[in-house]
């Protein structure tokens, strides 16, 4: 590829987010150093003030698009990068800040700002794929650092990056967890959420709240019915399902019809 010594030129960008996904890159620790043998970090503002201009081989984008500025920025990144990867549930689904998408925006602004008119923000927080073509999407709030690394490794050898996107339940069972729905009667989003986090929540005895986003073929209606059987009101069911990845296509569609 195009960087120094045939290294790939990597850029890391931040949009609306908490920086937790960039943190995953730094958290790679020793593995990050190993990665640096193969990758030139051309742009990574949080880690380096040496910001080199594009074009980049791979752009990792953290965060959702929620301001007019970011809308321009992502388009610019796309033009300057061969491969664009959306990293984390903000970039991939709109993130936790998309919870505001379900509310009246003027109200939202007024709740938080005395001078709402000074605030420049789009009405909705949206995934970057709403604006540009994304080559690979890694979800998670935050993204799993090993999955992120694995994606980079796959890109490095020049293959299509792929990860299983079956239900969290599969990962949960592989790990040998006790199902919280069955053994405790606790609602868990695992059946409609994709694997990748290591089935963390059930490992800690609680239900998944969906931070990795929906599987390819999720069945939120069936899950909602089940939650109702467990004694949740419709309002509670909707609230459970409307969480970190609520603005993903299938969950959004479900909520819109469920609450009608």
């Amino acid at each position: 590829m195009s960087g120094i010594n045939g290294k790939i030129r990597l850029a890391v960008f931040k949009l609306t987010s908490c920086s937790g996904c960039q943190q995953q890159i730094i958290d790679l620790g020793e593995l990050l150093l190993a990665l640096l043998d193969r990758v030139e970090i051309a742009y990574f503002l949080e880690a380096s003030s040496d910001a080199k201009p594009g074009p980049y081989d791979v752009a990792l984008i953290e965060g959702s698009v929620s301001t007019p500025h970011e809308e321009k920025l992502v388009k610019n990144i796309r033009e300057n990068s061969k491969i664009v990867v959306s990293v984390g549930s903000c970039a991939t689904y709109g993130g936790i800040q998309a919870l505001r998408n379900w509310m009246e925006f003027e109200e939202v602004k007024k709740t938080v700002y005395e001078k709402p008119e000074w605030v420049e923000a789009l009405e909705k927080s949206r995934p970057i794929s709403d604006f540009i073509k994304v080559d690979y999407a890694i979800s998670g709030c935050p993204a799993n650092k090993l999955q992120l690394l694995s994606t980079l490794k796959q890109i490095l050898i020049g293959r299509r990056a792929y990860h299983r996107e079956e239900s969290l339940c599969q990962e949960c069972k592989r790990k040998g967890n006790v199902c919280v729905v069955v053994a405790k009667g606790e609602p868990c989003l695992g059946p409609i959420i994709k694997e990748g986090c290591g089935a963390l929540c059930p490992s800690y005895g609680r239900g998944c709240y969906g931070c990795f986003g929906p599987t390819i073929d999720p069945k939120p209606d069936a899950l909602a019915k089940r939650f109702e059987d467990l004694g949740l009101s419709r309002e509670e069911v909707a609230s459970r399902i409307r969480n970190v990845t609520s603005w993903s296509e299938p969950i959004r569609r479900f909520l819109e019809s469920y609450e009608r």
Binding site: K14, L15, T16, S17, C18, S19, G20, C21, Q22, Q23, Q24, I26, D27, G29, E30, L33, L36, I41, L45, E46, A47, S48, S49, D50, A51, S66, T67, H69, E70, I96, Q97, L99, R100, W102, M103, E107, V108, K109, T111, V112, Y113, E114, K115, W118, V119, A121, S125, C141, P142, C197, G198, L200, C201, S203, Y204, G205, R206, Y209, C211, S239
Partner: protein, 432 residues
């Protein structure tokens, strides 16, 4: 730099800080005339969408305000909810919270002082450039962060947005044997903590002296982290519930974050430097020994020295976690519960960057009616601007490029966490 003309220093986008911000300095007649720390990190409206959610969700949701210090949010929101409901958290759960929180201090502090800040003092762009000259330092930094992260991971599942904590305690009982994994190479970890501190103490840190107001929690017997009274170096001490009465907030047109000051208009500093100066005696003796060996004692008088406070607190955290693990006894219940009732409460914890204030009101169904969050970085903006004015001479003596760098470094002294800071509510408007 010549005197009379008018010019500007613009840092369009700050690097090596968390989040999106810039600085604008106007110089007129050889003096810094105007400083603006410009926060364009987009607002995320947490206080709005928290409304109507269950009090139980506050820790998981607010954690996502910041990927560097999520646990601080978990702790503050949990403690506020526990105050509302009158829940007394078990000693074991408190110990686990402290361990994990100290883990976060390590992770966050080392990230800042080793990866983001040290390059400034060595004239480099990034830690990657330091790697060649100081391989041991980088190795130690990585190992210390890994260990801090591991502490959080064992107790909470993952370092960023951990899942193991909840209002009332933790989601599951952590076995002592799980924690003991951390002690496998503990002696080496302690040595690493010490080496890192020693390295920082030998950096060429600018010497300037001026008066500042520090504010932090103050511990009674222990260095403050989860709770304490609020104190400052003006001699005030007051409970956390009075915090709001002591400060004012302003919304600026150029910033998506609020600026906080004391009621009398003076800026104040919160964070490691403030904690260090107000609680020095409570730092582990091992830490004080190293500091004093190198001739440092409180008060540290300038914000460039905040890096020392961070390294000292890192070593302290490592020592503290070891002690907590030893003292830890598995509880019989992972968390305490109480009847849900309406109410309102405030909690302040010491995030790595300083005091983090949460206030909630909930209804009798446990739904959040109102949330107000004051992150440490927002409290520091006024001080940052003031700081640049104060070190003005130093800045203006430098060539342009270095001056810009010094401005950046000055901001970096605060380890600003910009994502955290874009929260505002209740304020006084300053039109510019």
């Amino acid at each position: 730099m010549s005197g009379k003309d008018y010019f500007e220093i613009r840092v369009k986008q700050l690097a090596r800080v968390e989040g999106e911000g810039g600085v604008w300095v106007k110089v007129k007649d050889g003096k810094i005339d105007y400083v603006e720390v410009n926060i364009f990190e987009p607002p995320r409206f947490f206080e709005a969408f928290l409304k109507g959610r269950s009090y139980l969700e506050a820790p998981d949701l607010t954690a996502r305000i910041c990927g560097i210090c999520p646990l601080a949010y978990v702790m503050a929101s949990s403690r506020a909810m526990e105050k509302i409901l009158g829940i007394k958290v078990s000693d074991a759960a408190n110990k686990l919270r402290e361990m994990a929180f100290y883990g976060e201090w390590i992770e966050s502090h080392v990230l800042h002082f080793a990866f983001l800040h040290t390059p400034d003092f060595l004239g480099k762009h990034s830690v990657f450039e330091i790697a060649k000259e100081h391989p041991q330092f980088l190795k130690d930094a990585i190992a210390a962060r890994d260990w801090g992260n591991k502490v959080i991971e064992i107790i909470g599942g993952r370092p960023v947005h951990p899942v193991g904590f909840r209002v009332g305690g933790l989601h599951r009982i952590i076995k002592k044997r799980e924690l003991e994994q951390l002690l496998g190479n503990y002696d080496e970890v302690k040595r690493i903590g010490r080496r890192l501190l020693e390295f920082i103490l030998q950096l060429p840190i600018p010497e300037i002296r001026y008066d500042m107001v520090f504010m932090s929690l103050k511990g009674e017997k222990e260095y403050p982290i989860l709770e304490g009274v609020v104190a400052n170096n003006l001699g005030d001490e007051f409970p956390e519930d009075e915090f709001e009465e002591r400060i004012i907030a302003e919304q600026k047109r150029y910033s998506n974050a609020l600026h906080y000051r004391l009621r009398d208009g003076r800026p104040y500093i919160t964070g490691p430097l403030a904690r260090f100066n107000l609680n020095y005696e409570l730092l582990s003796p091992e830490v004080r020994d190293v500091l004093e060996e190198f001739g440092f004692k409180p008060p540290l008088r300038n914000t460039y020295q905040s890096i020392i406070a961070r390294a000292a607190e890192t070593y302290h955290a490592i020592l503290k976690i070891g002690r907590l693990i030893e003292e830890y006894r598995e509880p019989s219940r992972a968390y305490e519960e109480a009847e849900v009732r309406a109410g309102e409460a405030v909690a302040i914890v010491e995030a790595p960057r300083g005091m983090l204030y949460h206030r909630y009101r909930i209804d009798d169904g446990g739904r959040i009616l109102y949330a107000d969050i004051v992150p440490p970085t927002a409290q520091n903006y006024a001080a940052m601007e003031e700081d640049i004015l104060k070190v003005g001479d130093l800045i203006l003596k430098k060539p342009r490029e270095e001056a810009q760098r010094l401005v950046e470094t000055t901001i970096r002294n605060y380890d600003p966490c910009i994502s955290c800071s874009v929260h505002m509510i209740r304020l006084r408007i300053i039109e510019e």
